[in-house]
Symmetry: D2
Subunit: 130 residues, 4 copies
Protein backbone atom coordinates (compact mmCIF):
# COMPACT_ATOMS: atom_id res chain seq x y z
CA UNK A 1 0.00 0.00 0.00
CA UNK A 2 2.26 2.73 -1.22
CA UNK A 3 2.32 5.37 -3.88
CA UNK A 4 4.89 7.69 -5.44
CA UNK A 5 3.84 11.07 -6.84
CA UNK A 6 5.01 12.45 -10.13
CA UNK A 7 7.74 15.09 -10.16
CA UNK A 8 6.80 18.33 -8.43
CA UNK A 9 8.64 21.63 -8.75
CA UNK A 10 9.27 23.93 -5.81
CA UNK A 11 7.26 27.13 -6.25
CA UNK A 12 8.87 30.51 -5.63
CA UNK A 13 6.33 31.45 -2.97
CA UNK A 14 7.28 28.33 -1.01
CA UNK A 15 10.72 29.76 -0.24
CA UNK A 16 11.54 31.96 2.72
CA UNK A 17 14.32 34.45 3.29
CA UNK A 18 16.73 31.66 4.29
CA UNK A 19 16.51 30.70 0.62
CA UNK A 20 14.95 27.32 1.35
CA UNK A 21 11.43 25.93 1.27
CA UNK A 22 9.63 27.03 4.44
CA UNK A 23 9.15 23.98 6.62
CA UNK A 24 5.36 24.43 6.84
CA UNK A 25 5.06 23.62 3.14
CA UNK A 26 6.14 20.01 3.55
CA UNK A 27 2.84 19.24 5.28
CA UNK A 28 1.17 20.46 2.07
CA UNK A 29 3.39 18.17 0.01
CA UNK A 30 2.47 15.22 2.22
CA UNK A 31 -1.23 16.08 1.89
CA UNK A 32 -0.96 16.32 -1.87
CA UNK A 33 0.65 12.86 -1.98
CA UNK A 34 -1.93 11.12 0.17
CA UNK A 35 -4.80 12.74 -1.75
CA UNK A 36 -3.34 11.66 -5.10
CA UNK A 37 -2.94 8.21 -3.72
CA UNK A 38 -6.55 7.96 -2.50
CA UNK A 39 -7.57 9.05 -5.96
CA UNK A 40 -5.51 6.31 -7.57
CA UNK A 41 -7.41 3.90 -5.29
CA UNK A 42 -10.67 5.25 -6.70
CA UNK A 43 -11.37 6.98 -3.45
CA UNK A 44 -11.20 10.67 -4.30
CA UNK A 45 -11.09 12.87 -1.24
CA UNK A 46 -14.04 14.87 -2.59
CA UNK A 47 -16.09 11.69 -2.36
CA UNK A 48 -15.03 11.01 1.21
CA UNK A 49 -16.15 14.53 2.16
CA UNK A 50 -19.38 14.20 0.22
CA UNK A 51 -20.11 11.12 2.34
CA UNK A 52 -20.12 13.35 5.39
CA UNK A 53 -16.71 12.31 6.54
CA UNK A 54 -13.81 14.64 7.14
CA UNK A 55 -10.29 13.53 7.72
CA UNK A 56 -8.35 16.09 9.74
CA UNK A 57 -4.71 15.54 10.68
CA UNK A 58 -4.41 14.75 14.38
CA UNK A 59 -0.69 14.13 14.67
CA UNK A 60 2.33 14.72 12.52
CA UNK A 61 6.08 14.46 12.61
CA UNK A 62 8.65 15.81 10.20
CA UNK A 63 12.37 15.31 9.90
CA UNK A 64 14.32 17.59 7.59
CA UNK A 65 17.47 16.00 6.24
CA UNK A 66 18.34 18.33 3.38
CA UNK A 67 16.49 21.48 2.40
CA UNK A 68 14.62 21.80 -0.86
CA UNK A 69 15.38 25.06 -2.63
CA UNK A 70 13.69 27.04 -5.37
CA UNK A 71 13.84 25.22 -8.67
CA UNK A 72 14.28 21.80 -7.08
CA UNK A 73 12.27 18.96 -8.50
CA UNK A 74 11.08 16.42 -5.96
CA UNK A 75 8.68 13.55 -5.50
CA UNK A 76 6.90 12.12 -2.48
CA UNK A 77 6.61 8.45 -1.52
CA UNK A 78 3.68 7.74 0.73
CA UNK A 79 3.07 4.49 2.56
CA UNK A 80 0.11 3.27 4.57
CA UNK A 81 1.10 0.05 6.26
CA UNK A 82 -1.53 -0.43 8.94
CA UNK A 83 -5.20 -1.24 8.38
CA UNK A 84 -7.06 1.96 9.33
CA UNK A 85 -9.42 2.01 12.32
CA UNK A 86 -10.90 5.34 13.32
CA UNK A 87 -7.55 6.81 12.29
CA UNK A 88 -5.32 6.24 9.30
CA UNK A 89 -1.54 6.53 9.38
CA UNK A 90 0.79 7.47 6.59
CA UNK A 91 4.55 7.73 6.38
CA UNK A 92 6.28 9.87 3.78
CA UNK A 93 9.65 10.30 2.16
CA UNK A 94 10.57 13.16 -0.11
CA UNK A 95 13.40 12.75 -2.60
CA UNK A 96 15.03 15.39 -4.74
CA UNK A 97 15.94 14.91 -8.37
CA UNK A 98 19.27 13.34 -7.41
CA UNK A 99 17.34 10.69 -5.51
CA UNK A 100 18.58 12.07 -2.23
CA UNK A 101 16.20 11.64 0.69
CA UNK A 102 15.41 15.19 1.85
CA UNK A 103 12.50 14.78 4.24
CA UNK A 104 10.72 12.12 6.25
CA UNK A 105 7.36 12.36 7.92
CA UNK A 106 4.37 10.70 9.48
CA UNK A 107 0.80 11.84 9.80
CA UNK A 108 -2.16 10.37 11.58
CA UNK A 109 -5.62 11.45 10.43
CA UNK A 110 -8.96 10.82 12.11
CA UNK A 111 -12.20 9.86 10.38
CA UNK A 112 -14.83 12.24 11.74
CA UNK A 113 -18.48 12.76 10.96
CA UNK A 114 -18.51 16.18 9.34
CA UNK A 115 -21.67 17.34 11.14
CA UNK A 116 -21.02 16.05 14.65
CA UNK A 117 -17.21 16.13 14.43
CA UNK A 118 -17.32 12.83 16.34
CA UNK A 119 -14.98 9.93 15.48
CA UNK A 120 -16.30 7.57 12.88
CA UNK A 121 -15.01 4.23 11.62
CA UNK A 122 -12.92 4.07 8.49
CA UNK A 123 -15.32 3.69 5.53
CA UNK A 124 -15.52 0.02 4.51
CA UNK A 125 -14.47 0.86 0.97
CA UNK A 126 -11.13 2.06 2.35
CA UNK A 127 -10.60 -0.63 5.00
CA UNK A 128 -11.40 -3.31 2.41
CA UNK A 129 -8.30 -2.27 0.53
CA UNK A 130 -6.16 -3.71 3.35
Amino acid sequence: MNYTTGKIKVRYNETDQMGIVHHSNYLKFFELARIEWLEKLNMPYEEIESNNIILPVVRCELKFIKPLIFGDIFFVKVLCSKKPTSTIEFTYEIYNDNNELTTEGKTSLAFLNSSTRKPSRCPKIISDLF
Copy 2:
Protein backbone atom coordinates in the same frame (compact mmCIF):
# COMPACT_ATOMS: atom_id res chain seq x y z
CA MET B 1 -16.57 54.59 6.66
CA ASN B 2 -12.97 53.70 7.34
CA TYR B 3 -10.96 51.72 9.81
CA THR B 4 -7.31 51.34 10.78
CA THR B 5 -5.99 48.07 12.15
CA GLY B 6 -3.69 47.78 15.09
CA LYS B 7 -0.01 47.14 14.49
CA ILE B 8 0.77 43.87 12.79
CA LYS B 9 4.18 42.23 12.60
CA VAL B 10 5.49 40.56 9.47
CA ARG B 11 5.78 36.81 10.09
CA TYR B 12 8.89 34.91 9.02
CA ASN B 13 6.92 32.55 6.79
CA GLU B 14 5.57 35.54 4.86
CA THR B 15 9.03 36.28 3.43
CA ASP B 16 10.41 34.77 0.26
CA GLN B 17 13.97 34.28 -0.93
CA MET B 18 14.15 37.87 -2.18
CA GLY B 19 14.08 38.74 1.53
CA ILE B 20 10.77 40.60 1.26
CA VAL B 21 7.16 39.76 2.03
CA HIS B 22 5.79 37.65 -0.83
CA HIS B 23 3.27 39.76 -2.73
CA SER B 24 0.44 37.23 -2.31
CA ASN B 25 0.40 37.92 1.43
CA TYR B 26 -0.87 41.47 1.02
CA LEU B 27 -4.26 40.13 -0.05
CA LYS B 28 -4.36 38.37 3.32
CA PHE B 29 -3.52 41.62 5.09
CA PHE B 30 -6.32 43.41 3.24
CA GLU B 31 -8.73 40.62 4.15
CA LEU B 32 -7.72 40.75 7.77
CA ALA B 33 -8.37 44.50 7.82
CA ARG B 34 -11.83 44.37 6.25
CA ILE B 35 -12.86 41.51 8.54
CA GLU B 36 -11.71 43.37 11.66
CA TRP B 37 -13.59 46.37 10.42
CA LEU B 38 -16.85 44.47 9.84
CA GLU B 39 -16.46 43.17 13.36
CA LYS B 40 -16.07 46.69 14.74
CA LEU B 41 -19.36 47.46 12.97
CA ASN B 42 -20.95 44.56 14.84
CA MET B 43 -21.10 42.59 11.66
CA PRO B 44 -18.73 39.70 12.26
CA TYR B 45 -17.94 37.78 9.12
CA GLU B 46 -18.93 34.53 10.86
CA GLU B 47 -22.43 35.96 11.16
CA ILE B 48 -22.57 36.92 7.49
CA GLU B 49 -21.66 33.35 6.55
CA SER B 50 -24.11 31.89 9.05
CA ASN B 51 -26.80 33.90 7.25
CA ASN B 52 -26.08 31.90 4.13
CA ILE B 53 -24.13 34.65 2.47
CA ILE B 54 -20.58 34.35 1.26
CA LEU B 55 -18.48 37.22 0.14
CA PRO B 56 -15.82 36.12 -2.33
CA VAL B 57 -13.36 38.59 -3.85
CA VAL B 58 -14.21 39.22 -7.50
CA ARG B 59 -11.61 41.82 -8.39
CA CYS B 60 -8.49 43.18 -6.84
CA GLU B 61 -5.64 45.50 -7.55
CA LEU B 62 -2.38 45.98 -5.72
CA LYS B 63 0.38 48.52 -6.03
CA PHE B 64 3.64 47.87 -4.22
CA ILE B 65 5.51 51.04 -3.36
CA LYS B 66 8.02 49.79 -0.83
CA PRO B 67 8.49 46.21 0.29
CA LEU B 68 7.75 45.06 3.80
CA ILE B 69 10.51 42.92 5.22
CA PHE B 70 10.76 40.47 8.09
CA GLY B 71 10.43 42.22 11.41
CA ASP B 72 8.55 45.20 9.96
CA ILE B 73 5.56 46.46 11.87
CA PHE B 74 2.72 47.73 9.73
CA PHE B 75 -0.92 48.71 9.85
CA VAL B 76 -3.69 48.70 7.27
CA LYS B 77 -6.17 51.50 6.57
CA VAL B 78 -9.33 50.29 4.92
CA LEU B 79 -11.99 52.51 3.41
CA CYS B 80 -15.41 51.71 2.01
CA SER B 81 -16.74 54.83 0.36
CA LYS B 82 -19.60 53.58 -1.79
CA LYS B 83 -22.89 52.20 -0.58
CA PRO B 84 -22.74 48.46 -1.35
CA THR B 85 -25.12 46.94 -3.89
CA SER B 86 -24.59 43.31 -4.82
CA THR B 87 -20.89 44.05 -4.45
CA ILE B 88 -18.89 45.95 -1.86
CA GLU B 89 -15.71 47.85 -2.61
CA PHE B 90 -12.82 48.55 -0.33
CA THR B 91 -9.62 50.49 -0.79
CA TYR B 92 -6.55 49.86 1.35
CA GLU B 93 -3.32 51.51 2.34
CA ILE B 94 -0.55 49.80 4.25
CA TYR B 95 1.92 51.88 6.23
CA ASN B 96 5.10 50.75 7.90
CA ASP B 97 6.20 51.85 11.34
CA ASN B 98 7.81 55.01 9.91
CA ASN B 99 4.41 55.96 8.51
CA GLU B 100 5.63 55.37 5.00
CA LEU B 101 2.97 54.20 2.57
CA THR B 102 4.15 50.78 1.37
CA THR B 103 1.16 49.34 -0.45
CA GLU B 104 -2.12 50.40 -1.99
CA GLY B 105 -4.98 48.22 -3.04
CA LYS B 106 -8.60 47.79 -3.96
CA THR B 107 -10.88 44.82 -3.72
CA SER B 108 -14.41 44.23 -4.89
CA LEU B 109 -16.39 41.45 -3.21
CA ALA B 110 -19.72 39.97 -4.26
CA PHE B 111 -22.56 39.00 -1.95
CA LEU B 112 -23.55 35.49 -2.95
CA ASN B 113 -26.05 33.05 -1.59
CA SER B 114 -23.86 30.30 -0.18
CA SER B 115 -26.06 27.45 -1.46
CA THR B 116 -26.87 28.69 -4.95
CA ARG B 117 -23.70 30.80 -5.43
CA LYS B 118 -26.02 33.34 -7.09
CA PRO B 119 -25.63 37.10 -6.47
CA SER B 120 -27.59 38.43 -3.56
CA ARG B 121 -28.24 41.98 -2.36
CA CYS B 122 -26.08 43.46 0.36
CA PRO B 123 -27.73 42.56 3.70
CA LYS B 124 -29.78 45.52 4.96
CA ILE B 125 -27.83 45.62 8.21
CA ILE B 126 -24.71 46.46 6.20
CA SER B 127 -26.27 48.83 3.66
CA ASP B 128 -27.97 50.70 6.51
CA LEU B 129 -24.55 51.71 7.75
CA PHE B 130 -24.13 53.95 4.70
Copy 3:
Protein backbone atom coordinates in the same frame (compact mmCIF):
# COMPACT_ATOMS: atom_id res chain seq x y z
CA MET C 1 5.47 35.76 -26.66
CA ASN C 2 3.14 33.54 -24.75
CA TYR C 3 3.20 30.28 -22.90
CA THR C 4 0.67 27.81 -21.52
CA THR C 5 1.48 25.72 -18.46
CA GLY C 6 0.72 22.05 -18.14
CA LYS C 7 -2.29 20.95 -16.12
CA ILE C 8 -2.14 21.86 -12.44
CA LYS C 9 -4.34 20.42 -9.72
CA VAL C 10 -5.81 22.53 -6.94
CA ARG C 11 -4.22 21.53 -3.62
CA TYR C 12 -6.37 20.99 -0.55
CA ASN C 13 -4.52 23.64 1.44
CA GLU C 14 -5.37 26.21 -1.23
CA THR C 15 -9.06 26.07 -0.30
CA ASP C 16 -10.69 28.19 2.37
CA GLN C 17 -13.85 27.69 4.37
CA MET C 18 -15.98 29.05 1.53
CA GLY C 19 -14.97 25.83 -0.24
CA ILE C 20 -13.12 27.65 -3.01
CA VAL C 21 -9.48 28.44 -3.72
CA HIS C 22 -8.46 31.42 -1.58
CA HIS C 23 -7.95 34.38 -3.89
CA SER C 24 -4.38 35.00 -2.72
CA ASN C 25 -3.30 31.72 -4.32
CA TYR C 26 -3.92 32.94 -7.85
CA LEU C 27 -0.91 35.23 -7.57
CA LYS C 28 1.12 32.10 -6.88
CA PHE C 29 -0.34 30.43 -9.97
CA PHE C 30 0.56 33.45 -12.09
CA GLU C 31 4.09 33.41 -10.67
CA LEU C 32 4.48 29.73 -11.38
CA ALA C 33 3.42 30.32 -14.98
CA ARG C 34 5.79 33.20 -15.69
CA ILE C 35 8.69 31.34 -14.07
CA GLU C 36 8.06 28.22 -16.15
CA TRP C 37 7.89 30.39 -19.18
CA LEU C 38 11.20 32.15 -18.48
CA GLU C 39 12.69 28.70 -18.07
CA LYS C 40 11.38 27.59 -21.45
CA LEU C 41 13.13 30.66 -22.85
CA ASN C 42 16.36 29.41 -21.31
CA MET C 43 16.21 32.15 -18.77
CA PRO C 44 15.68 30.34 -15.47
CA TYR C 45 14.73 32.67 -12.66
CA GLU C 46 17.55 31.24 -10.54
CA GLU C 47 19.96 32.60 -13.14
CA ILE C 48 18.36 36.04 -13.12
CA GLU C 49 18.80 36.16 -9.34
CA SER C 50 22.35 34.84 -9.54
CA ASN C 51 23.08 37.80 -11.84
CA ASN C 52 22.23 40.10 -8.98
CA ILE C 53 18.85 41.01 -10.32
CA ILE C 54 15.60 40.55 -8.49
CA LEU C 55 12.23 40.92 -10.06
CA PRO C 56 9.60 41.90 -7.48
CA VAL C 57 5.98 42.42 -8.43
CA VAL C 58 5.12 46.12 -8.36
CA ARG C 59 1.53 46.05 -9.55
CA CYS C 60 -1.09 43.43 -10.07
CA GLU C 61 -4.73 43.05 -10.96
CA LEU C 62 -6.98 40.05 -10.72
CA LYS C 63 -10.47 39.37 -11.94
CA PHE C 64 -12.27 36.28 -10.68
CA ILE C 65 -14.87 34.98 -13.09
CA LYS C 66 -15.53 31.52 -11.71
CA PRO C 67 -13.98 30.00 -8.62
CA LEU C 68 -11.62 27.06 -8.74
CA ILE C 69 -12.48 24.40 -6.20
CA PHE C 70 -10.64 21.49 -4.67
CA GLY C 71 -9.93 18.80 -7.21
CA ASP C 72 -10.16 21.17 -10.17
CA ILE C 73 -7.54 20.85 -12.86
CA PHE C 74 -6.48 24.11 -14.44
CA PHE C 75 -3.84 25.66 -16.64
CA VAL C 76 -2.44 29.17 -16.95
CA LYS C 77 -1.83 31.09 -20.17
CA VAL C 78 0.72 33.85 -19.76
CA LEU C 79 1.44 36.53 -22.33
CA CYS C 80 4.12 39.20 -22.47
CA SER C 81 3.29 41.53 -25.30
CA LYS C 82 5.45 44.59 -24.64
CA LYS C 83 9.23 44.76 -24.88
CA PRO C 84 10.40 45.08 -21.27
CA THR C 85 12.16 48.25 -20.07
CA SER C 86 12.94 48.53 -16.38
CA THR C 87 9.68 46.68 -15.85
CA ILE C 88 8.12 43.67 -17.51
CA GLU C 89 4.41 43.14 -17.90
CA PHE C 90 2.49 39.91 -18.08
CA THR C 91 -1.16 39.11 -18.59
CA TYR C 92 -2.68 35.82 -17.50
CA GLU C 93 -5.72 33.69 -18.09
CA ILE C 94 -6.60 30.63 -16.06
CA TYR C 95 -8.84 27.97 -17.56
CA ASN C 96 -10.41 25.00 -15.86
CA ASP C 97 -10.58 21.54 -17.34
CA ASN C 98 -13.77 22.41 -19.23
CA ASN C 99 -11.86 25.19 -20.94
CA GLU C 100 -13.86 27.80 -19.07
CA LEU C 101 -12.02 31.02 -18.33
CA THR C 102 -11.95 31.29 -14.54
CA THR C 103 -9.50 34.08 -13.82
CA GLU C 104 -7.77 36.97 -15.54
CA GLY C 105 -4.83 38.96 -14.32
CA LYS C 106 -1.95 41.30 -14.99
CA THR C 107 1.30 41.78 -13.18
CA SER C 108 4.06 44.30 -13.59
CA LEU C 109 7.48 43.38 -12.22
CA ALA C 110 10.51 45.64 -11.81
CA PHE C 111 14.11 44.70 -12.55
CA LEU C 112 16.08 45.72 -9.46
CA ASN C 113 19.71 45.35 -8.51
CA SER C 114 19.55 42.89 -5.63
CA SER C 115 22.15 44.73 -3.53
CA THR C 116 21.08 48.33 -4.01
CA ARG C 117 17.37 47.59 -4.68
CA LYS C 118 17.60 50.30 -7.36
CA PRO C 119 15.88 49.91 -10.74
CA SER C 120 17.98 48.26 -13.38
CA ARG C 121 17.42 47.76 -17.10
CA CYS C 122 15.97 44.54 -18.36
CA PRO C 123 18.89 42.16 -19.02
CA LYS C 124 19.78 42.19 -22.73
CA ILE C 125 19.28 38.44 -22.97
CA ILE C 126 15.62 38.97 -22.11
CA SER C 127 14.96 42.13 -24.14
CA ASP C 128 16.60 40.47 -27.16
CA LEU C 129 13.77 37.98 -27.17
CA PHE C 130 11.40 40.73 -28.27
Copy 4:
Protein backbone atom coordinates in the same frame (compact mmCIF):
# COMPACT_ATOMS: atom_id res chain seq x y z
CA MET D 1 12.79 29.83 29.96
CA ASN D 2 9.30 30.22 28.63
CA TYR D 3 7.17 32.85 26.99
CA THR D 4 3.50 33.35 26.21
CA THR D 5 2.43 35.35 23.15
CA GLY D 6 -0.30 37.94 23.17
CA LYS D 7 -3.69 37.02 21.77
CA ILE D 8 -3.70 36.14 18.09
CA LYS D 9 -6.74 35.92 15.86
CA VAL D 10 -7.22 33.19 13.27
CA ARG D 11 -7.10 34.74 9.78
CA TYR D 12 -9.66 33.78 7.16
CA ASN D 13 -7.01 32.56 4.74
CA GLU D 14 -5.77 30.12 7.37
CA THR D 15 -8.97 28.08 7.12
CA ASP D 16 -9.55 25.26 4.67
CA GLN D 17 -12.72 23.75 3.27
CA MET D 18 -13.17 21.58 6.35
CA GLY D 19 -13.87 24.89 8.10
CA ILE D 20 -10.87 24.61 10.39
CA VAL D 21 -7.38 26.07 10.42
CA HIS D 22 -5.24 24.09 7.98
CA HIS D 23 -2.74 22.07 9.98
CA SER D 24 0.27 23.54 8.19
CA ASN D 25 -0.43 26.93 9.76
CA TYR D 26 0.37 25.76 13.28
CA LEU D 27 4.05 25.58 12.36
CA LYS D 28 3.78 29.27 11.49
CA PHE D 29 2.19 30.00 14.87
CA PHE D 30 4.99 28.13 16.63
CA GLU D 31 7.57 30.08 14.63
CA LEU D 32 5.91 33.37 15.45
CA ALA D 33 6.01 32.49 19.16
CA ARG D 34 9.68 31.51 19.28
CA ILE D 35 10.68 34.60 17.29
CA GLU D 36 8.75 36.91 19.61
CA TRP D 37 10.38 35.19 22.51
CA LEU D 38 13.91 35.59 21.15
CA GLU D 39 13.06 39.24 20.67
CA LYS D 40 11.97 39.60 24.29
CA LEU D 41 15.37 38.15 25.21
CA ASN D 42 16.99 40.92 23.17
CA MET D 43 17.99 38.44 20.56
CA PRO D 44 15.98 39.44 17.51
CA TYR D 45 16.05 36.84 14.79
CA GLU D 46 17.14 39.48 12.29
CA GLU D 47 20.31 39.89 14.36
CA ILE D 48 20.97 36.16 14.42
CA GLU D 49 20.73 36.09 10.62
CA SER D 50 22.88 39.20 10.27
CA ASN D 51 25.55 37.33 12.25
CA ASN D 52 25.68 34.79 9.45
CA ILE D 53 23.70 32.21 11.31
CA ILE D 54 20.51 30.63 10.10
CA LEU D 55 18.28 28.50 12.22
CA PRO D 56 16.27 26.07 10.09
CA VAL D 57 13.82 23.64 11.62
CA VAL D 58 15.23 20.11 11.50
CA ARG D 59 12.50 18.20 13.28
CA CYS D 60 8.98 18.89 14.41
CA GLU D 61 6.01 17.18 15.94
CA LEU D 62 2.44 18.36 16.25
CA LYS D 63 -0.54 16.98 18.09
CA PHE D 64 -3.96 18.44 17.31
CA ILE D 65 -6.38 18.16 20.22
CA LYS D 66 -9.11 20.55 19.16
CA PRO D 67 -9.28 22.51 15.93
CA LEU D 68 -9.01 26.28 15.80
CA ILE D 69 -11.67 27.81 13.60
CA PHE D 70 -12.09 31.18 11.92
CA GLY D 71 -12.60 33.91 14.44
CA ASP D 72 -10.93 32.01 17.27
CA ILE D 73 -8.54 33.90 19.48
CA PHE D 74 -5.56 31.92 20.68
CA PHE D 75 -2.19 32.28 22.31
CA VAL D 76 0.98 30.22 22.18
CA LYS D 77 3.13 29.15 25.14
CA VAL D 78 6.67 28.33 24.14
CA LEU D 79 9.22 26.66 26.40
CA CYS D 80 12.92 26.01 25.91
CA SER D 81 14.06 23.78 28.72
CA LYS D 82 17.42 22.47 27.53
CA LYS D 83 20.61 24.47 27.10
CA PRO D 84 21.12 24.67 23.34
CA THR D 85 24.13 23.01 21.70
CA SER D 86 24.28 23.02 17.91
CA THR D 87 20.51 22.65 18.05
CA ILE D 88 17.83 24.34 20.12
CA GLU D 89 14.59 22.67 21.17
CA PHE D 90 11.25 24.26 21.86
CA THR D 91 7.95 22.86 23.03
CA TYR D 92 4.67 24.64 22.39
CA GLU D 93 1.13 24.70 23.62
CA ILE D 94 -1.68 26.60 21.94
CA TYR D 95 -4.74 27.59 23.96
CA ASN D 96 -7.99 29.04 22.70
CA ASP D 97 -9.82 31.87 24.39
CA ASN D 98 -11.56 29.45 26.75
CA ASN D 99 -8.14 28.34 27.96
CA GLU D 100 -8.61 24.96 26.31
CA LEU D 101 -5.44 23.33 25.10
CA THR D 102 -5.87 22.93 21.34
CA THR D 103 -2.43 21.98 20.06
CA GLU D 104 0.90 20.71 21.31
CA GLY D 105 4.18 20.67 19.48
CA LYS D 106 7.94 20.41 19.51
CA THR D 107 10.51 21.77 17.14
CA SER D 108 14.23 21.29 16.94
CA LEU D 109 16.24 23.91 15.05
CA ALA D 110 19.89 23.75 13.98
CA PHE D 111 22.37 26.61 14.14
CA LEU D 112 24.01 26.71 10.72
CA ASN D 113 26.55 29.02 9.16
CA SER D 114 24.53 30.79 6.47
CA SER D 115 27.31 30.62 3.85
CA THR D 116 28.58 27.10 4.35
CA ARG D 117 25.28 25.64 5.67
CA LYS D 118 27.48 23.70 8.14
CA PRO D 119 26.45 23.24 11.78
CA SER D 120 27.66 25.93 14.10
CA ARG D 121 27.58 26.22 17.89
CA CYS D 122 24.78 28.12 19.55
CA PRO D 123 25.88 31.77 19.81
CA LYS D 124 27.26 32.47 23.32
CA ILE D 125 24.76 35.28 23.82
CA ILE D 126 21.96 32.71 23.60
CA SER D 127 23.60 29.85 25.53
CA ASP D 128 24.48 32.31 28.30
CA LEU D 129 20.78 32.74 28.94
CA PHE D 130 20.62 29.18 30.26
